[in-house]
Amino acid sequence: MKTPDAKRRILRSGKTLWNLADALKAGSYQAFEKALGKDTQEILEEIFLSGLRGRGGAGFPTGTKTKAVHTSNTHGCSYVVCNADEGEPGTFKDRILMEEDPHLLLEGLLIASLAVRASHAYIYIRGEYGRSIERLQTAIDEARKASWLGEGIRGSSFSLDIEIMRGAGSYLCGEELTLLESLEGKRGYPRIKPPFPAEKGLWGKPTLVNNVETLANLPYIMMHGAAAYRSLGTEASPGTKLVCISGDVKNPGVYEVEMGTPLKDIIHGPGGGSREGDEICFVLLGGAAGTFASVSQLGIPLCYDALRKEGLSLGSGAIMVFGKNASLKDILQNILGFFKHESCGKCVPCRTGTYHLMQSWIGGCTNNQGERKKLLPQLVAEARNIAQTCLCPLGQSPVMPLESAMKNIIELMD
């Protein structure tokens, strides 16, 4: 049986790792130096064999994506973009990583840029994350001064500059194509897919877009090799995962757990279980665009496939635990209000659909519990319609909490 808090690979111990000196003591940039000695194909292969999957929520194999960018980069111009637009409610792992260990992210970016021969990388970060921005900027400045960034790094022919681009308040910009639009200084509208960023990304050039946590995995993989990386986790979901436990537990926070750890072991282990006098009633996995799980479902191991089989999702790693005082009615209203607010307005079903969903639920909330239970399936049907024809993942999201609430915990409706 897998146990939580096994070997940590991402969350390194050390109180002041944001200082370059301390980071170097903790081993920062050794993996990158090792990568500098390898040829590009070796790096790509190592990432590919590690089986690392994107930690932003979609779980797409990182190696495949990296290879695709490398292949598309026929004109010697590609970009690496770090998606640090951590806007999913209940998610704060990237913030912790950036605030406490920014050099780990920079090292991951260095390795990724080396792999796709990019000389310019961007960190697109939520505008709300003031401290992360500060810490990262300091780290970049220090790294540049110490020649871990800039022209001809460590005497090699490899050059990389990293720029921080600050978002300004848009959940949708966490979607990779929308993020690129925003990075180009435009309104955050999703682009039509295909082409994917690996083919035509930033300014039409091949672009590797990776989540903070994904990039933070690369130094370990480079340092210890794919086989070592695969020694943790499951066959299809190797490695560890940062989870963000919040809500009605004793010890909310970010924890690194091995993939495949049962949910309840996480909630009761590092999460500390429910507080005195309370009990866990249901869990929302993956944030607002996530799924509700009942207490009876918490035996499921935390990995992409097992959760998907159950109709649940890992998303970005948010585990929001709700106890006796939780109001499912209010939670759903908050979620629907969130999507209405964050819909960019480009496509019809999402723009108007999220509005009507919200209005219907508000209407329903003035009614009694029985009516609300009847209303939920109608909303699910409407949300399904939206999900079927909408342009981007945002419109596909409302159906997830609505449907899972209906299937798994409708009896808890207040």
């Binding site: 209940g90 709300e128 978002g167 180009e184 200084g185 955050g188 919040s246 939670i331 908050n334």
Partner: protein, 149 residues
């Protein structure tokens, strides 16, 4: 206006710096907002038309085209904070600062402080849990001295 130009010219005249410019202009403005005058200067500098700049400024919820007061106090209204009573917190803050001459009170998006919900933000800095009580105390102290000065 001179200050506006100084800020704008720190960036290359390329569209990707638009959001950065708007952030900085807003922070530097005494009213903590984007004036039409500064948007016009940005448009000229980037050789873009006014609507393009306005469109971007409109889209992002952190950017404001209406003046605000000296201190911007925002309460996270996101799911976990909501569950942890941010609505009540907001009500309490409103009764305290609703008509305060130096404080604008508003809601904001998730601040990534869900482990210590509810969270608030004063200008660019996030506070949560027990820190909020401390924050309120320091705001009161600061605004009292500002009002007197």
């Amino acid at each position: 206006m001179e200050n506006t130009d100084e800020i704008i010219r720190k960036y290359p005249p390329a569209r990707e710096y638009l959001l950065s410019m708007l952030h900085e202009l807003q922070d530097a403005d005494p009213g903590k907002y984007l004036t039409e005058a500064s948007l016009t200067r940005v448009a000229e500098y980037l050789q873009l038309n006014k609507a393009v700049i306005k469109g971007v400024a409109d889209y992002y919820s952190m950017l404001s085209q209406r003046p605000r007061k000296k201190l911007l106090l925002q309460v996270c209204g996101s799911l976990m904070c909501h569950h942890a009573g941010s609505a009540e917190l907001y009500t309490r803050l409103r009764s305290r600062y609703g008509h305060h001459p130096l404080i604008s009170l508003a809601h904001c998006e998730c601040l990534g402080q869900c482990q210590q919900a509810p969270a608030v933000q004063l200008d660019q800095e996030a506070f949560s849990g027990a820190d909020i009580v401390e924050l309120i105390r320091s705001i009161d102290k600061k605004t009292a001295s500002d009002e007197n000065s």
